[in-house]
């Protein structure tokens, strides 16, 4: 008989040690003014507001609140810079955009940490997704600057910029959304007034250093910080030729109504309630990964999240088992920890919204399952949540929650799945899992969504057009199609 090996017994528990990314390489100023015409200027409102780390509620910095006079100043600066930028040779603009991309890559770690601090998302995501994709976006559109005529597909016409663009971006992917907006606009020769979200302005403000180093002329990009009123002032300003907005459907509708009859161009990238269809002939383990990526990526604060899971009844039990097991390994914790899968909910306001839906779901009779999680005293936290016993008329099944909350319903046939999936006023994303090729194409044709992820979910690429059907907005970002909103024909 052999003696037992000293390590033959399995450990009862086993967990990674904390592995916090060092934040000291990021320098955050105490206070940020507005960036207008290539200079940092004090706001006419004389007001500043704090921005905080949602995982600790620590105030990171103070940011200027731009009022209508500041918006006017920024729009004028953009207007003044327009001729020079628009007439610059495409190849020269390309060099500047390429440089932005390269500098972002060089300073990637700094941006990732700042993004995680200001937003609450896990460093794993800001490091592997937000920042590299932002750099890739600038690189992709840099290549278009001297090839814009190819994008028009209108023989006999020349591409021209639209003019001064007002761009309003959300807090869920602060740097990435800035890149999605700025890169195509600048590539086409437009000048920009960019308004970052009031709760996540820091990466846009740090981006100024990159733009300046890359050689973006003064006034070509102006950054005005502030909340809804600031955005409304930008929308209302007569000197703006085009508005691009990413955010809630509610605000998007208000902007569309405001611009009615003005002749200004508009693109909207709004909310969603993505249906995620799992068929019995799907690779279920990968489907479960897709479900996780679909709804828990960025704590579910993603407009294209796969928040409505529709599972073929014959595999519902199996999928639930696999999913719950998988969720028990999801690590909710400090965003700067390299092993964290889910970070903090972005703000107190958002936390309240998520909570109210968790309550509403239970009030309406749905059954809530939550992964075990002990929340720290400070900060805003929500573990992965699943709702079963969901009916299509419940609020949680119809409205965008924008949090780590998944509703689960079953279906019997592909036809029923499509009907359920399309029964929404949103139409941004959808997912389909099945190993059958012809079924994938039949379903992806019938799903009313701008992006259909088949046997994958939440993939993004600068070359790939993204945008919604129905009340999820109009216009596309990414790819050749993403240029069109920023191009005029001559």
């Amino acid at each position: 008989m052999r003696p037992t090996h000293p390590l033959a017994d399995a450990p009862k528990t086993f967990d990674y040690a904390p592995s916090l990314e060092d934040r000291s390489i990021v320098e955050i100023k105490d206070r940020y003014r507005l960036y207008i015409g290539g200079e940092w200027v004090a706001p006419s409102t004389r007001q500043y507001f704090p921005t905080q780390d949602p995982s600790t509620e620590e105030t990171l910095s103070e940011v200027a609140k731009a009022g209508p006079r500041d918006i006017d100043r920024a729009v004028r600066a953009a207007r003044r810079a327009l001729p020079g930028w628009a007439q610059m040779k495409g190849s020269a603009r390309a060099r500047i955009l390429f440089a932005i991309s390269r500098i972002l890559q060089e300073r990637a770690r700094e941006f990732a940490i700042l993004e995680t601090l200001d937003n609450g998302k896990p460093i794993r995501e800001s490091r592997d997704i937000d920042v590299p994709l932002s750099a890739a976006h600038f690189f992709y559109y840099a290549g278009w600057t001297d090839k814009l005529d190819y994008a028009l597909r209108e023989p006999g016409h020349r591409a021209a910029p639209v003019g001064v663009c007002g761009q309003i971006i959300p807090w869920n992917f602060p740097l990435l959304m800035a890149a999605w907006k700025l890169a195509p606009a600048l590539a086409c020769g437009n000048t920009v007034v960019l308004k970052p979200a009031e709760t996540s302005p820091l990466s846009s403000l740090l981006l100024v250093e990159v733009l300046e180093e890359a050689g973006v002329p003064p006034g070509v990009v102006n950054i005005v910080t502030g909340a809804g009123e600031t955005g409304a002032a930008l929308v209302a300003h007569e000197g703006v030729d085009k508005i691009a907005f990413t955010g809630s459907t509610e605000v998007g509708k208000a902007i569309q109504a405001k611009l009615a009859g003005s002749g200004k161009r508009l693109t909207l990238e709004l909310g969603g309630k993505g249906a995620h269809l799992i068929f019995e002939d799907a690779p279920l383990d990968q489907a479960v990964e897709g479900i996780v990526r679909g709804i828990f990526f960025n704590q579910g604060q993603v407009c294209c999240a796969g928040s409505r899971l529709l599972v073929e009844e014959s595999v519902e039990a199996k999928v639930m088992e696999l999913l719950k097991n998988r969720l028990s390994t999801l690590r909710v914790g400090p965003p700067l920890d390299k092993n964290t899968d889910l970070g903090a909910i972005h703000s107190k306001e958002q936390m309240g919204r998520v909570r109210s839906y968790l309550q509403a779901g239970q009030d309406e009779g749905a059954v809530l399952w939550q992964a075990f999680f002990e929340a720290p005293k400070k900060g805003f936290w929500c573990p992965p949540c699943l709702f079963t016993n969901v009916t299509p008329s419940m609020k949680i099944a119809r409205e965008e929650i924008f949090g780590p909350v998944l509703t689960i319903q079953s279906f019997r046939t592909p036809q029923e799945a499509v009907a359920l999936a399309n029964n929404s006023n949103y139409g941004l994303s959808a997912g389909v899992w099945t190993d059958k090729g012809s079924k994938i194409f039949a379903l992806s044709q019938q799903l009313q969504a701008g992006v259909v992820w088949a046997n994958t979910f939440n993939q993004f690429d600068p070359a790939s057009p993204f945008g919604g059907y129905k009340e999820s907005g109009f216009g596309r970002e990414g790819g050749l199609h993403g240029l069109l909103p920023y191009l005029a024909q001559r």
Partner: protein, 310 residues
């Protein structure tokens, strides 16, 4: 003797629902496997993980030039990988059948087991009676564990029943020795097939399913390991029997070993983090694990002479 059959050959009503592991999307599998490479191991946990990895290593030599002397030295290394007594012995020493007796002599009375490859390793292209004889001999010479290969020839030409029956016969031939069934995943072409072969081996009685012989171009990869972890997970749910997984071939660095441990931990949980259920088939990996262990202890990167040759 009545033979239990495979659900792949004759699905019973209860098993009409195929286990999820048998249908794989390669890109999703690889993405998940790659994601866990980025897990960060720090401090005490890293030390513990390295020690576990050492304890899971089947220190292997499978060369035509292997001699009793070489195997003896390897066994000494297995028993005491480093002068530092905090570093545990490995799980087993893995040799060709001819050298089993030598290894068994050196390792007698120690916690380190003797493993032997058999069944016409690595190609399995000799007649079945010879493969069975090979296996029996290894067992008789004192192997605690026997690593056999499936017939890829039979599997790839669709003779699943033959594969199933042969593994059953190996199991019988191995007697009380633990049976590790090598799928040679690098020759199977797709993850669906790897899963299918793994499942067949489990049903036929394998105690471990193992990726590779180390003798072909493509050896263990994290995605392959993940695929096989799904197989043993589903097989446990199906049969109640727990089967281990062994990854082999080309694993040289601590970082890779820790990646595999993360795969095990986050797919099957900590209860699988034992050499009873997970193994590395490797040789040079051991010294890298020791190097990293020492680095973690001292804060200094080790030089080439800070670890012992085998």
């Amino acid at each position: 003797m009545t033979r239990k059959t495979s659900i792949l050959l004759n699905p019973s009503e209860r098993d009409l629902l195929m286990p999820p592991c048998l249908l794989v999307d390669a890109v999703g599998l690889e993405a998940r496997a790659a994601e866990l490479r980025k897990r960060s191991w720090k401090k005490e946990v890293k030390l513990e993980a390295i020690e576990r990895a050492i304890s899971m290593t089947d220190l292997t030599t499978l060369e035509g030039a292997d001699t009793p002397g070489r195997v003896e030295r390897l066994c000494q290394k297995a028993l005491r990988p480093d002068p530092n007594p905090d570093i545990p012995p490995v799980a087993a020493v893995c040799v060709y059948p001819n050298l089993v007796a030598t290894a068994a002599r050196v390792l007698e009375g120690s916690p380190v087991e003797v493993a032997s490859v058999a069944s016409g390793f690595p190609a399995g292209q000799v007649p079945l009676p010879l493969r069975l004889e090979d296996t029996k001999m290894a067992a008789e010479n004192g192997a605690d564990e026997i690593d056999v290969v499936i017939s890829r020839s039979a599997f790839l030409s669709g003779r699943l029943e033959q594969v199933f029956e042969e593994v059953q016969a190996f199991k019988e031939a191995a007697g009380p020795a633990r049976l590790k069934v090598i799928l040679e995943t690098g020759e199977l072409g797709t993850f669906d097939r790897i899963a299918k072969a793994g499942w067949l081996a489990c049903e036929a009685g394998a105690d471990f399913i193992k990726t590779s012989t180390g003798k072909v171009k493509i050896n263990a990869t994290p995605a392959t390991a993940l695929c096989m972890l799904h197989v043993v997970r589903d097989f446990e749910a199906h049969s109640g029997r727990v089967v281990g997984v062994k990854v082999a071939g080309g694993i040289r660095k601590s970082k890779e070993a820790l990646h595999y441990l993360a795969l095990v931990l986050e797919t099957l949980g900590p209860s699988r983090l034992t050499n009873r259920l997970f193994r590395f088939g490797a040789s040079s990996l051991l010294n890298d694990l020791i190097r990293q262990w020492k680095k973690q202890k001292t804060g200094r990167y080790m030089g080439p002479d800070d670890v012992c040759l085998d």
